[in-house]
């Protein structure tokens, strides 16, 4: 059964009714279990679950230490290009936005890489908008080949590709893929993606699986909180991660929780996700999928991120710039994708992590 078929099974499921029916006893029952069903997940995501945050936190904290130890994997994002042919109403890079567009040449990429390695970071995430003519596969391949010389892990967060194309990039040195569905609710997906290839819901939802099938070592999924109804979106995100984890046991799966942010082109989120919701969902993910990673970006503020260390987070971006390049001084500014709310330098983040009793991990493995 494909993940699309799994989602379709819930087409007539009355989420509102179910969430309203969750009793305190249901939550207590769920918290007693070690192996959670998707009904247990729904219980934890419900409004009733809000009354049990501390109990969830204690269990989530214990599970995270049990399966991940007290370690936080660090990575740094590098935007190679912000050209984009899609019109997504929530995104700073939308083709309709008149921002300064820029694409790094290979020489510029190398300059950025040199600058970044000074921070000690060894895992890099490269990002582009969707513009295959501007950043064709050959360009991406060259960029990855180059960056593989500087970093021990290269992940990509770029336009969705076919299995064959992922294999090409894997050969060049890519080992991880981040791809967010943005919104699992089909109707809202249609509403927020007005033009461009990204309109293809089915292709996008199958992309994480394409990544796994091409042999990539790590797949990171997520929904963009603020678009779809938050509890439903959290539910489908976790189901998606579980589907991939169950089907591809040789692939590391992790979940991100990006929340819509002010730079995202004046767009007002349809659904507000406050800190309490965020924490509740993060912990529900941890309890439902104890061994799946949880990635937190610098969209979230410093203090908040530090709290999340104790609640289930396992990967942090650090010292991030969300404009194209941005690490090496070039004088060329370009539009950012989202506002950064944790402006600490890599060194500052490292020392905070250590002070909280965690070990920052720069290099987890080498790509052979």
């Amino acid at each position: 059964m494909s993940f699309l078929e799994i989602i379709d099974q819930f087409e007539n499921f009355n989420f509102k009714e179910y969430f309203n029916s969750v009793s305190k006893k249901d939550i207590e029952e769920t918290l007693r279990k070690n192996r959670l069903s998707h009904y247990d997940l729904l219980n934890l995501l419900s409004e009733t679950g809000e009354k049990y945050l501390e109990e969830m936190a204690q269990k989530a904290s214990e599970l995270t230490v049990q399966y991940f130890g007290r370690t936080i994997q660090l990575f740094i994002p590098l935007y190679l290009s912000n050209y984009c042919t899609n019109n997504c109403i929530y995104c700073g890079f939308s083709v309709k936005n008149s921002i300064k567009r820029r694409k790094l040449t290979l020489k510029e990429i190398e300059r950025e890489a040199c600058e970044i390695t000074k921070t000690g970071m060894r895992h890099i995430l490269i990002l582009t908008g969707e513009a295959i003519e501007v950043t064709p596969l050959s360009y991406l391949k060259d960029a990855v080949t180059l960056l593989s010389k500087y970093f021990s892990s290269v992940s990509i967060e770029i336009l969705p590709l076919e299995i064959k194309q992922y294999k090409t990039l894997k050969k060049a040195g890519v080992d991880g893929l981040t791809i967010y569905q943005e919104v699992y609710d089909r109707k809202i997906y249609e509403k927020v993606h007005l033009s461009g290839n990204k309109k293809d819901y089915d292709f996008r939802i199958n992309t994480p699986e394409n990544g796994a099938l091409s042999g990539l070592r790590m797949i990171n999924v997520g929904t963009l909180f603020g678009l779809g109804e938050k509890r439903k979106e959290a539910f489908f995100t976790a189901l998606h991660a579980k589907y991939l984890r169950d089907k591809y046991i040789d692939t590391e799966i992790s979940i991100s929780l990006p929340r819509i942010n002010s730079a995202e082109g004046d767009f007002k989120p349809f659904c507000n996700v406050n800190d309490m919701n965020f924490v509740q969902f993060l912990m529900a993910f941890r309890l439902f999928l104890p061994r799946v990673g949880i990635t937190i970006s610098t969209r979230e503020g410093a203090d908040f991120r530090d709290r999340l260390l104790f609640l289930g987070a396992t990967r942090f971006s650090a010292g991030s710039k969300t404009e194209v390049g941005g690490y090496a001084l070039s004088g060329a500014e370009s539009g950012t994708q989202f506002d950064i709310h944790d402006n600490r330098s890599v060194d500052e983040i490292i020392s905070t992590i250590k002070s909280k009793g965690f070990q920052p991990v720069f290099k987890d493995w080498d790509v052979f």
Partner: protein, 256 residues
């Protein structure tokens, strides 16, 4: 629990207790045991005849409505297991086969690698393949891909009656495999069988414990009741013992 049928290959069974024909003091116990235990699947082996002794055909002791599960015991390689399976089918035993390939003569642990190779061949030939393995998730996943119809992880060494020593690994298989899990080997007491079913196993295979009992007929019934009890407990979704609240500092106070 009349709706809780056990689907295996193309057949459906009421009983989740598989039995074996080995080690009985007398073969005459077998039909009585089958009746008292309500087991519907029984294993048999294939051997060269002994010219010097009277050959009793084990099949004569098994009622026609029982599904035969020939096992490839004696095979030391995938090739030998495949040959035995084909012979058994040709001889009229049906499509089911339990692949047992043992090269370790000390502990009688199965050879997962040879078992996988035999499964790949026999599944393509239309056999309902039940491989007997040392529990291992990677092997189990490969067996699923190869077309096995169930996985038979051992609970502990054959004949040891030590119970389910491989419990944690089997729990991983139960959680991650889509095919039925039939725990085989090492189940020495009805309580072990109940435990296996409480864990979420789909069925158990018990041979030595029943065959070597003073009263195999009663022991068969005891195992049957234990399997039902364990299964019923599992289906009623037993709540696990909650851990007492740990007195550590609050983690979500900052949200209020």
């Amino acid at each position: 629990m009349s709706s809780d049928l056990f689907k295996l290959g193309e057949k459906t069974f009421k009983s989740r207790l598989l039995t074996g024909t080995g080690k009985f003091a007398s073969k005459s116990f077998i039909p009585k045991m089958l009746k008292s235990s309500k087991s519907e699947i029984i294993t048999i082996a294939l051997r060269r005849i002994d010219f010097n002794s009277k050959t009793e055909n084990i099949i004569d002791f098994i009622p026609d409505d029982i599904t035969l599960l020939p096992n490839t015991s004696g095979a030391r390689t995938a090739g030998e297991a495949v040959r035995i399976a084909r012979i058994a089918r040709e001889a009229g035993c049906g499509n089911f086969v339990k692949i047992e390939v043992i090269t370790d003569m000390k502990y009688l642990m199965p050879d997962n690698h040879e078992t996988l190779m035999a499964t790949e061949i026999l599944a393509k030939e239309g056999f309902i393949v039940l491989p007997y393995i040392l529990p291992d998730l990677v092997t189990a996943k490969k067996l699923e891909d190869a077309g096995a119809c169930a996985i038979m992880p051992l609970g502990s060494a054959i004949g040891s009656n030590r119970g389910i020593k491989t419990k944690e690994i089997i729990e991983i298989l139960i959680e991650n495999c889509t095919m039925p899990i039939i725990i085989d080997a090492g189940i020495g007491r009805p309580s072990h069988a109940a435990e296996a079913m409480e864990m979420g196993a789909d069925a158990v295979l018990v041979n030595t414990a029943i065959a070597s009992a003073k009263d195999p007929e009663s022991m068969g019934k005891a195992f049957s009741l234990a399997v039902c009890a364990g299964r019923m407990a599992y289906l009623s979704d037993m709540g696990r013992q909650g851990k007492s609240a740990s007195a550590s500092s609050p983690l979500t106070g900052f949200l209020r």
